[in-house]
Symmetry: C2
Subunit: 97 residues, 2 copies
């Protein structure tokens, strides 16, 4: 495979990988309506807070979410609504056939 083409698909795959985890999809779903802190998200999902922090970091690195600092909280919100199209399309893919 051509190196340039290969690079293109490597980069795209990175985005899909960032989305390919139930907790991270839940974060996107939750943060689309309401800003949420790390602690709040952690309690909703029921995992270790350090694990949640790392999931948020993965989404942040790909600019899928962004965090706003308020006191010593960080409130996350969805940065790219386009990702919601991913989600609704995913449902169609699952339900068809």
């Amino acid at each position: 495979m051509n190196k340039v083409i290969e690079m293109e698909f490597l980069e795209k795959a990175e985005i899909f990988k960032a989305l390919a985890h139930p907790t991270r999809l839940f974060i996107i779903h939750t943060v689309k309506d309401k800003k949420m802190s790390v602690k709040e998200l952690t309690e909703l999902v029921g995992i270790d807070i350090s694990t949640m922090s790392k999931h948020l970091d993965i989404l942040k690195k790909h600019k899928i979410i962004e965090g706003d600092k308020f006191k010593n909280f960080i409130y996350y919100r969805l940065a790219i609504p386009c990702v919601l199209d991913f989600m609704s399309c995913a449902i169609k893919v699952i339900n068809k056939k």
Copy 2:
């Protein structure tokens, strides 16, 4: 997290996982225009044919592609064009900011 909700995101994540690999994205990109056999795809990408077969199997299991048998070839094609929206959206996500 509510069990039902959890199941929803688990299922969605499965779809994203199926797409989260450069070779599999290349397959989708290639098969959208032209039916291709396992061997043809293998030669384009330059990996072991058994590896390609397994990538195709993952996409097939999620109904993302479908194969038509002709002689002892199997020609694959894109089953759900909706996935292309994923792809073009992914480009936007990458290029923005």
